[in-house]
Symmetry: C2
């Protein structure tokens, strides 16, 4: 099993970051405009992109602390993996420790997703700090795979 | 052992990307302005940043195909790890498969470095495509760790 890891710091409160991770409006503001579903624990949120969609089952949502999703539908390599956001206050920042864990193999698609996650986490930072993120389809293009 | 993985596509030739990875001027244009040393095989290049420097021994440099460095001095977690850039032509892009491999543990600093590498690879893409990258100290700030 191999994991994608990232760390960003947002100059805002853990509650503001948590809201961007646990509301349809927040999620649509940094990952993809086409977000729909129930972002509470036990709910499923569907994130749609031009090439396809990801369905995330919300496993954990602890206000200001942690959000954990399990991928229940989407690209084969993603199914069964988990996406985890741990929040912590440090200096004037809310630190987001991010993990997309449980990939079976370090395939080329995983390299791509690692870089895309970095750009989407920078979009999350931008959304919370300025009110405007860069969600799909206005996301940063990194390659021929978009 | 755990690895940082990334994938970007540059709308330019493998040779142009290779030049940005194997000349002091190229490296200084996307990673850090303060780059010095011998970027040929067997040479050591020193990349300096405000908090400290990384010394990379160039293990491999195959024109248009691959560059591999070993970290011989720098932060403790980096020493002995390898940084690898594999280039491949695909559609109108030069694909850069990036790996920073051989970390002993997935420490918080590794999360940080993963996100920073993504922003520096986007700086490499920008440099080769437009002539201007975002090397330190003008690099993208991602957190309190810079």
């Amino acid at each position: 099993m191999v994991d994608i890891l990232h760390r960003i710091g947002v100059t805002s409160s853990p509650d503001a970051v948590y809201t961007a991770l646990t509301t349809v409006e927040g999620l649509a503001g940094w990952w993809t405009r086409d977000t729909d579903g129930d972002p509470g624990v036990g709910g499923v949120v569907r994130f749609s992109f031009e090439p396809g969609a990801f369905d995330m089952l919300v496993l954990e949502a602890q206000p200001g602390e942690r959000v954990v999703w399990e991928v229940v539908d989407g690209p084969e390599e993603w199914i069964g993996t988990r996406v985890r956001f741990d929040l912590e206050k440090e200096d004037d920042y809310t630190i987001v420790l991010f993990r997309h864990e449980g990939w079976k193999e370090p395939v080329e698609f995983m390299h791509h997703c690692s870089t895309k996650w970095a750009t989407f986490l920078m979009s999350l930072k931008k959304l919370v700090e300025t009110g405007t993120g860069e969600p799909a389809p206005q996301d940063v293009r990194i390659s021929n795979w978009h």
